[in-house]
């Protein structure tokens, strides 16, 4: 073989060995599309908006609103034909679950770990994420019942997270809230500030949110676990409760493309900005009408004759002869305005809960007079939240609003539950949860009946488990639960 041929062979071998270097290959596989580490702030930002997208969209807000009879579909022309008859799409059931566990839960869980592993430890960020996670998981367990919690989000260790009993989950949430409240250092600047969509890092407000959430969870449990009354009594007059609208726990939407409140956006995108599909439900409307509630023109639109006409559950809306809608839709200019925030925990809600505590004497001596004051304060704050002037609000609560101070405890409690129902017109998840604890089966406030066309079995109390989780989790329950089956908190 000639020398030049030998040189050629050697060249090939050299080229081969050289070009197969591992370092080069590892460099090629460095992902340019992701960050390998990230501040908890940004995981928190995504988790928060994913959560509200879930809460206000077509997987939680609308199906629960229809199935709980908070509003009416007006027949089969629009959305919700199905949901109001308890036919809730498996996609909604699955999307809600994945939204809570993956989009919100996992990112909050990682944010907590990152905050606690940071140097210096970011205790405030950990607390912000824990308190948010507590509210997220409160919603999850109220929707689905027993759910994974202690083993959730630890994919390495627990590949099949065990479903914890709801009572245990709720107690664990109370522990987590206490843990978070203990972590908060209002003087520290180490926290999630500008990327905190709720309070912009105001840790004093976070303490109020945590305390209020704790009270709310305790109120959900107390009828099943009367021992919670003590803790309720200890909290009811805490100065750390949200009692003023400035402390409301909410997340903002904007009058900008793709930042709109989804409740409004659905009509913006599909119906030219008018609402031809979702109407005042007769149940809630009648309660308001009987009490001359000034929120009626805020919540609903009058028809062209100036009348408000509600629609029964799963029933056709009324039309004018030319096809225009005669029934009253939910107002897109007021209640579902484009930049309406998603209100998650409010002062009116807490004041009405406090009123209920005093009526029922939960951990405190029953005091109807005190309850009446708080009840009026709660209603007033709800009116003012909906842009009714303080003067008009005062006039209403001191005028048309039934005074409960002279009522029996049972009747007073009923009035409070009615105001809770009205206050939650726009918060279908909270309204439905509150309705479930408002009385034993058959005595809830308001008194609902099975929608026409819904399967026999009972009123809507839960989502079924999503098939995705049932199929992939060896520790999942058998999945035989129906939409009307009770979970632990249901009375």
């Amino acid at each position: 073989m000639k020398i030049k041929n030998i040189v050629l062979f050697i060249s090939i071998i050299f080229f081969t060995v050289y070009s197969c270097s591992n370092e080069d290959l590892l460099k090629v596989n460095k992902d340019p599309n992701v960050a390998t580490s990230i501040d908890p702030d940004f995981l928190f930002g995504y988790a928060a908006y994913s959560w509200t997208g879930n809460r206000t969209g077509g997987d939680v807000f609308l199906p629960i609103g229809w199935a709980s009879q908070a509003f009416s579909t007006g027949g089969n022309a629009g959305w919700g034909y199905g949901e109001d008859r308890y036919d809730i799409s498996p996609f909604s059931i699955g999307n809600a679950w994945s939204g809570y566990f993956v989009n919100s839960g996992n990112n909050l869980y990682i944010a907590i770990q990152q905050a606690e592993a940071a140097d210096p430890v970011n205790n405030n960020a950990a607390a912000q994420a824990k308190l948010t996670l507590a509210n997220v998981m409160f919603e999850v367990t109220m929707i689905y019942g027993d759910v994974p919690f202690r083993q959730a989000w630890q994919a390495g260790e627990f590949t099949n997270p065990v479903f914890d009993p709801q009572e245990q989950v709720l107690n664990d949430l109370l522990v987590m809230i206490d843990e978070a409240l203990a972590q908060i250092d209002v003087t520290s600047i180490v926290k999630i500030s500008s990327n905190d969509p709720f309070y912009k890092g105001d840790m004093a407000k976070w303490i109020k949110f945590g305390t209020s959430l704790k009270l709310k969870i305790l109120m959900t449990m107390v009828d099943k676990d009367p021992s919670k009354a003590g803790e309720i009594g200890a909290l009811v007059n805490s100065s750390n409760l949200i009692t003023s609208p400035v402390d409301n726990f909410k997340i903002d939407y904007f009058d900008e493309t793709n930042s709109e409140n989804p409740k409004n956006k659905i009509f913006k995108n599909y119906a030219g900005g008018v609402n031809p599909w979702i109407f005042a439900n007769t149940i809630g409307y009648t309660l308001m009408d009987d009490r001359s509630d000034p929120r009626i023109p805020i919540y609903f639109d009058a028809n062209r004759d100036g009348d408000f006409l509600s629609v029964d559950t799963a029933t056709e809306a009324l039309l004018y002869p030319n096809g225009d809608v005669k029934s009253s839709p939910i107002s897109l200019d007021n209640l579902w305005k484009v930049d309406a925030p998603d209100l998650i925990l409010s002062a009116s809600e807490i004041q009405l809960l406090r009123a209920e505590i005093y009526v029922r004497g939960l951990g405190v001596a029953s005091d109807i007079s005190m309850a009446n004051t708080l009840y009026k304060e709660g209603v007033k704050q709800s009116l003012m939240y909906h842009s009714i002037s303080e003067v008009d609000a005062d006039a209403y609560v001191n005028g048309d609003l039934p005074d409960i101070s002279g009522m029996s405890a049972v009747k007073a409690e009923e009035e409070i539950h009615i105001q809770q129902w009205i206050d939650f017109q726009d918060r279908t998840l909270e309204g439905w949860i509150n309705w479930r604890r408002s009385g034993p089966e058959g005595s809830e406030i308001p008194n609902l009946t099975l929608p026409p066309g819904a399967p026999a079995g009972g009123l809507f109390r839960r989502y079924m488990y999503p098939t995705g989780e049932l199929n992939s989790n060896a520790n999942a329950p058998d999945g035989g639960d129906m939409l009307f089956d009770k979970v632990w908190v249901d009375l």
Partner: protein, 1032 residues
């Protein structure tokens, strides 16, 4: 004319005379059926039983004598009128050459594996704009399915059954040694995604000389990590060295129309429960004849009388027109060759406004610079533009196919077309929530433009007589721009929006190998190559959405109030060292060994180097037999190989992705940042730092025979493959915080037979009549041997409402969904309250793959006429028809007429739950409320079983007729050959079991296992066309 005259004047006139003689072999035995041809013409004759022939020719012309298995012989006609010839037996004459892996040509006789080959004639007989569709029914073991009737749409090819639980099942495409991209993106997936085509469809069938299909792992093992799904090796046409200028013109025009449309009822208008409703697009309204004296509001607000429009859907579709024109020049001197071609394809689809234009330029040129050094270059530039690509599926205001196929019987498309906007230019929608289809067609066309260059250069240097060095460097890169529009005023996006997708894809491939060849006088030949391969890909995708347009109709980013964008890029690199060793003893025993080691960038350091071996061999056993008339050639062959593939880039490490939006149901997702809040999120798939390559092990055994004096040729192959350590992302409990987890798991087995039979009854006979019958048959049995421990099912693909394609241990890939409940006796369980069948979810409904497929290809030639047709048969498999679901649920098709307005009691039983916990059944006596309720339950989209059908079909795939103008008539024109053809594709579904749609469907496109799922796809087309082929 002047040109023709000039050519004509150069032809010397000579007197024709009859030449006759005897054609015999070396033992002086006559060779009946041997042929004699006047060189350069189509004049020919065959020898009779005594070997005698007679032919008309002129002195000075050359006669070519040939016979199967014998070396051809040429004799120049002299003064004598008698020419006797002796043909020598030539083993190599049987040895057709086949292009195999790495572009290495091998004698077909020597192959130990099954390789399918299709030539240009077959590909262009009934031309399709894509070369892939033309393979259907011509190679055994191939399953080809078109996704839709969209012009420039995609076709999936699966060889020997789907092997992968996740990722692609598509083979690697190699053109002139250069692996090319066959990417197919469907960014919007089932929610309004378009059939964007796959990149192998860019190739021009007119430029292709042959396609070799390397079916098994043994054949494709040299491609290592890319060879798991087989390989399609394309060789393009070359010019001929030492020939003059040849000009070829090929022109086709083809007319397309829907192959099959639904069978509609024409008695009932839209509405509910017999009452008219302008906002319901269905057929559950009043009986049209009952309301002839009434008027109703139509979609545009006019009061109209209802009349049936039986042909409304048919009238919606245009006649599609496909024009394909090719001009190619080729030739060469003694040292060089070249071929330069240009093809223009212009397709107007059946959906109004859909167009696809493609320009292919190709150059293939080679030169021998010295005796030792030669070079060849191939350059192909492809530019395609398409507009009006139909958005399919649902959940998108632009997805109109279901509304078109599901149009109410009283609505005319003319009316919709003439009234899609009012005087102010605002849309007149079909219903409150449904766009007028002509608004979408006119205002919101989806466009795709592709610019692509495939180029390679090959340098060859002969170091010695036996050793050569080959270097082949190539690249394939393309830019693809897609645009989706929502004009201002489109329902769902009233403020207007548009999305631009820009894809850049690049492949660089380099092979360098040294090849050694040596034969000795004892009949031993040895050849080997040792090579190195570098293969790297890069892709970049940028997506920008502009929302809220200021000026209507202006799709400029500056015209959008809000912009939201994402980008993604990925690179991967693969090095391979390979060897291919061939031993040939006396042209009878053949052994082939290959080995390849790959190093991949996508796997962890510990697992990124892996070796794939293969061995195959063949024995021509007829060499040991007496020569006989029964078997003239026989070969047994066998092979074993291991191949595999690496992971997707960046599957190993955890990273946080910036979030550009957050999910809200009903396509209401909002953008991030919002209100200044920035989001990052953890990955949805849990990465795995310990991934390893997946591996496919396959063995095959085969037998090739030529029998009955070569009248019958048979090729039979048995294969069995296990694909293990599959790289899959399994669903994990969402409560872990992730949707999926990456891991290696699962074994999928494919076992099957392939049979290729060729029968040419007249091969040895006299006369001008020829008949070639080719049959290809494939039976594949797939079985999922195992998944992950504890996992009963693995989701391969998901559609709507619980329809899923899944893998389950012990089963083939199957279609799953809701199924009607039955008792132990198989009777339907009917709800006693509603009279409707009860259902249960997540049930297996059938296999997705067919039991067997067969192609029957006939071609007849008589003198200058030819007739060919191809029948394509598929037996078995399960099909889901979303169109049938929609149309039945909506009461629009003829079967929904039955029992309307009457009492109907469905056959089945009611379940009685007894007090003691036992269950008993009584015959159902509850009538359904009405047939609207019945069909909504029986056949809604969420009721999968009601829309499940046997996917079998028998189709007349191709039919063609041609006429070659006799060379005599052309002799004075300078035209070498002229051919006229009539061609038809997909003309007739001879048999199927599915109502309303063509059973050949693949809604999911090329991404997965090619399940026969249909959901409001553009109907497939039948075409008839004409073709002229002219060569100077």
């Amino acid at each position: 004319m002047l040109v023709l005259l000039l050519f004509g004047s150069t032809i010397a006139l000579a007197q024709e005379k009859t030449i006759s003689g005897i054609i015999s072999d070396e033992n002086s035995l006559p060779l009946p059926g041997a042929t004699v041809l006047v060189k350069g013409t189509s004049t020919g004759a065959s020898a009779d039983f005594d070997g005698k022939y007679a032919i008309l020719a002129k002195q000075g012309q050359t006669l070519v004598f040939s016979f199967v298995g014998y070396a051809s012989k040429e004799v120049v006609i002299g003064a004598s009128n008698t020419i006797d010839v002796v043909l020598k037996e030539d083993a190599t004459a049987l040895d057709e050459v086949v292009v195999t892996a790495m572009g290495i040509t091998k004698k077909e006789r020597s192959l130990g594996v099954s390789v399918g080959e299709v030539d240009n004639e077959s590909l262009t007989r009934a031309r399709s704009a894509s070369p892939l569709d033309a393979l259907s029914g011509k190679v055994s073991g191939l399953k080809i399915t078109q996704q839709s009737g969209t012009p420039g749409g995609s076709s999936s090819i699966i060889i020997r059954g789907a092997t992968s639980l996740s990722g692609s099942n598509q083979p690697i495409f190699v053109i002139d040694g250069m692996p090319i991209s066959n990417q197919s993106f469907n960014q919007d997936n089932i929610a309004g995604g378009v059939d964007g085509g796959n990149r192998a469809g860019d190739l021009n069938p007119d430029d292709i000389e042959t396609i070799s299909v390397l079916k098994g792992a043994s054949a494709s093992a040299l491609y290592g990590a890319r060879a798991k799904n087989g390989a399609i090796i394309i060789t393009t046409k070359k010019g001929k060295k030492g020939s003059g200028l040849k000009v070829e013109l090929n022109s086709s025009v083809r007319f397309d129309s829907p192959l099959k449309l639904p069978d509609y009822q024409n008695e009932y208008a839209q509405g509910t429960a017999g009452t008219y409703d302008v906002n319901s697009i269905n057929g559950w309204g009043p009986k049209i004849s009952d309301v002839a004296d009434q008027t109703f509001v139509d979609f545009k607000g006019d009061q109209v009388t209802l009349t049936a429009k039986p042909n409304n859907v048919e009238d919606f579709f245009d006649t599609g027109i496909t024009k394909i024109n090719t001009v190619a020049i080729s030739g060469g001197d003694t040292k060089s060759d070249y071929r330069l071609s240009y093809t223009n394809s212009d397709v107007k689809g059946i959906v109004p406004g859909s167009e696809y234009k493609k320009n292919n330029f190709a150059l293939n040129a080679g030169r021998n610079f010295t005796d030792k050094f030669s070079a060849r270059t191939n350059v192909s530039y492809i530019s395609s533009q398409s507009t009006g690509r139909t958005q399919q599926g649902s959940n998108d205001g632009n997805a109109i196919v279901s509304n078109i196929l599901g149009m109410s019987r009283t609505i005319s498309f003319d009316d919709l077309r003439n009234n899609y906007v009012d005087e102010a230019g605002n849309q007149i929608p079909l219903t409150q929530r449904t766009n007028n289809p002509y608004w979408v067609l006119n205002k919101n066309p989806f466009s795709i433009d592709v610019e692509r260059l495939i180029a390679s250069v090959e340098l060859e240097y002969k170091i010695t007589k036996d050793i050569k060095l080959v270097e082949r460097l190539g690249t394939d890169f393309y830019n693809e721009s897609r645009q989706k529009l929502y004009a201002k005023g489109s329902l769902g996006t009233l403020a207007g929006s548009f999305t631009n997708w820009d894809y850049y894809n690049q492949i660089i491939n380099n092979d360098i190998y040294i090849a050694y060849n040596k034969s000795n006088s004892e009949g031993i030949s040895f050849s080997a190559i040792l090579g190195h391969n570098l293969y790297q890909t890069a892709l970049k995708r940028t997506t920008i959405t502009g929302d809220n347009l200021t000026v209507a109709g202006l799709y400029n980013l500056g015209n959008a109030e809000k912009l939201n964008g994402t980008n993604y890029s990925a690179r991967r690199k693969l090095h391979g060292v390979y060897t291919d060793i061939n031993l040939d003893y006396k042209n009878t025993f053949f052994l082939n060994l290959t080995g390849r080691n790959d190093w991949s960038s996508t796997l962890p350091k510990a697992n990124n180097s892996y070796f794939y071996p293969s061995v195959n061999g063949a024995i021509v056993f007829t060499e040991f037999m007496e020569k006989n008339d029964i078997i003239s050639f026989g070969k047994i062959r066998g092979g074993y190989a291991e191949v595999g593939s690496d992971a997707d880039p960046y599957s190993l490490l955890f990273g946080f992705v910036p979030s550009s939006d957050y999910f809200v149901q009903y396509s209401l997702s909002n953008n991030l940042p919002q209100g200044g809040i920035i989001g990052f999120e953890a990955p949805r798939t849990l990465p795995n730092a310990n991934l390893k390559p997946q591996r496919k092990k396959e063995f095959e055994l085969g037998l090739d025979l030529k029998m009955l004096k070569n009248i019958v040729g048979i090729g039979f192959t048995y294969y069995n493959s296990d694909t293990s350590d599959q790289l899959i992302n399994i669903d994990v409990p969402l409560s872990t915080g992730f949707f999926r987890k990456a891991l290696n798991a699962g074994v999928v087995n494919n076992e099957g037979i392939e049979l290729d039979v060729n029968i040419s009854p007249f091969i040895n006979n006299l006369g001008s009549f020829k008949w070639d019958l080719g049959i290809v048959f494939n039976q594949n049995k797939q079985k999922v041997k195992s998944l992950v421990d504890g996992l009963d099912e693995f989701n391969l693909q998901s559609g709507w409402s619980g329809l899923t394609i899944k893998a389950a241990p012990g089963e083939e890939f199957g279609l799953y969904g809701t199924k009607f409940r039955r008792n132990e006796d198989g009777q339907f369980i009917i709800n006693a309250a509603t009279g409707l069948k009860e259902v249960q979810s997540a049930q297996r409904l059938g296999n997705i793959a067919p039991d067997w497929t067969m192609g029957i290809n006939n071609s007849f030639t008589y003198k200058n006429f030819g007739l060919g047709f191809l029948i394509d048969i598929k037996q078995g498999g399960t099909l889901f028809s979303g169109t049938t679901a929609v149309l039945r649920g909506a009461g629009l098709v003829s079967e929904t007429l039955a029992n309307r307005g009457e009492t109907f009691i469905d056959t089945g039983v009611n379940q009685i739950n007894n007090a003691d916990g036992s269950v008993s059944y009584v015959e159902n006596t509850t009538p359904v409320e009405d047939m609207e309720n019945y069909w909504l339950n029986q056949s809604s989209t969420s009721n999968t079983e009601g829309n499940i059908f046997d996917a079998s079909y028998v189709k007349l795939r191709e039919i063609s007729f041609f006429y070659n103008v006799p060379s005599k008539m052309l002799s004075k024109t300078g035209i070498t050959s002229l051919r006229f053809g009539i061609e038809g594709r997909n003309l007739w579904i001879i048999h199927d079991n599915v109502p309303h749609i063509d059973p050949e469907v693949n809604f999911f496109g090329t991404g997965g296992p090619a399940a026969t799922v249909e959901f409001s796809s553009v109907p497939s087309v039948k075409s008839v066309g004409f073709n002229v082929n002219l060569t100077f």
